[in-house]
Amino acid sequence: MDINNNNLLSIQEVLADVMVIMNDEDNHLLTPGFYNAQVKYALDELGFDISFLPVTNDYLLPDDLMVDMPSGCFNLRNIHIYTGTPEEVGYVETVYWRKGVQTRGYNTGVTANVNQWNISDPFFQVSIDSTSLYYFSVQNGIIRLSDDCSSFDYIRLTYDGIPSKNLDSVKMIPPECRKAILDWVTVRCAGALKMRDNKYRIVQTDAEKQLDEYGLNGSWHEAKMRLVRLDTKKLKDAILYNAKLNY
């Protein structure tokens, strides 16, 4: 299901429960920052398990055709380059990943496992006489575009965002996964306290049981299923589309 930003809950909504469970409403056991960090930690873990935060950003193409990987991006979904502006997109091309390519940027040449012209190799000869090759590779965390991309103005990146880096810290908990976050944070906080007082081991064990992070019978899996489920509209449209066999 798509995340509705208007429904997002604050970190404090979750902590209001966790701190009661931990009997630490006055923060005499753990600091407020520790609790906050655990909520973000939980949200990020859930985000890595099931991508629920697609992010789209436009960047002006630099002269050297090297674009820094955006902060908070952990999984590229799409790269498009286009002419015009983000408000008035003109001609669009999809940029594909080319394996094993290294370049120092625009007009510095390219090396690759499979080169564009390699007619002297006795074992593996290649000759691709083509223009308008729009591809990219990633080196050292930098997206490097092929020289042919230079005729475009903008690059649009669509990627999975790390939740804690992309969501407003005031409101960042999707209600669909509130229960899972609550259990996850409880497990971690109780784990942090069990060396101080063994009774927290019981709290941790109980919360772990409800969470079942690596199994299929807990709030963690339930949250993932909720997030991965298609909206009903999308599902109906997909069924309709498939039923028509694309005619």
């Binding site: 006055d26 923060n27 600091t31 920052g33 520790f34 960090a37 973000k40």
Partner: protein, 242 residues
């Protein structure tokens, strides 16, 4: 606060110990000292056990900057109980006047830490001491504040679990006794015990040398037992010298 006054408790104990006459062995001040000392101990146990704000006192405290270290601190305005993890400090917050102008501080309380543990707080942005996420730690009678170095903090509001000070002679003993009423029977019992014990101690001993080994030395004039003048029995029996 209502209930018994300190005077009532003190004179009740003096009456029970039969010490209400002139030149009594136990003076009211001595019993007052006992009352305050034992009450302080019982009160500490009570506060530690009962989760209540009944014995939390609020103070507006002026903060200073240590000229040597540059750290913000304030001095404890009263003696507090030394509970585990500085539990004698119920809360420290920004003063209410700040809350009106800076709402972000209104719900902020200073979190307890120690100098040793404070280093870890700087490892993570969420825990880093800031004006919105401040900390305190105690060193003797000083409370140091972390995270407020960048703001001009002049005072804080502190809730403290203060002790009864037996040495404070300015206490008005006719005011209500700041002590759990339900513990007064236990307090009385403990003071009666100590009072009875004290009263059983023998009166002042005088160093008359009685414990000295030479006590057996004759202290009277040595006289012959055969001296009739020294032995009246001879005279009564009509003994005649031959």
């Amino acid at each position: 606060m209502s209930g018994a006054t300190i005077r009532m408790v003190v004179y009740d104990l003096l009456g029970d110990l039969k010490q209400v006459y002139d030149d009594a062995d136990l003076t009211p001040f001595k019993v007052y000292f006992w009352v305050m000392t034992f009450a302080d101990r019982l009160r500490k146990q009570h506060i530690e056990k009962i989760d209540s704000g009944a014995y939390v006192e609020r103070f507006d405290v002026t903060t200073y900057i240590d000229t040597t270290t540059g750290r913000n601190y304030f001095t404890l305005p009263a003696a507090i109980y030394d509970f585990d993890q500085d539990g004698g400090i119920a809360f420290i917050t920004y003063p209410p006047k700040w809350d009106l102008s800076l709402p972000m501080f209104s719900s902020v309380t200073f979190t307890r830490t120690t100098p040793g543990k404070a280093a870890r707080l700087y490892f993570r942005e969420d825990e880093r001491p800031t004006p919105a996420n401040p900390y305190f730690y105690r060193l003797n009678d000083r409370i140091y504040l972390l995270g407020v170095e960048e703001i001009n903090l002049t005072s804080v509001e502190a809730g403290l679990k203060t002790t009864l000070d037996p040495n404070d002679l300015t206490v008005d003993i006719d005011l209500a006794f700041d002590f759990p009423q339900d513990l007064i029977p236990i307090l009385k019992r403990q003071i009666l015990d100590i009072g009875r014990f004290v009263l059983q101690i023998p009166t002042d001993k005088i160093n008359d040398g009685a414990a000295w080994e030479s006590k057996n030395f004759p202290i009277q004039k040595i006289a012959s037992v055969n001296d009739p003048t020294m032995n009246p029995q001879y005279q009564q029996d009509g003994y005649q010298q031959q």
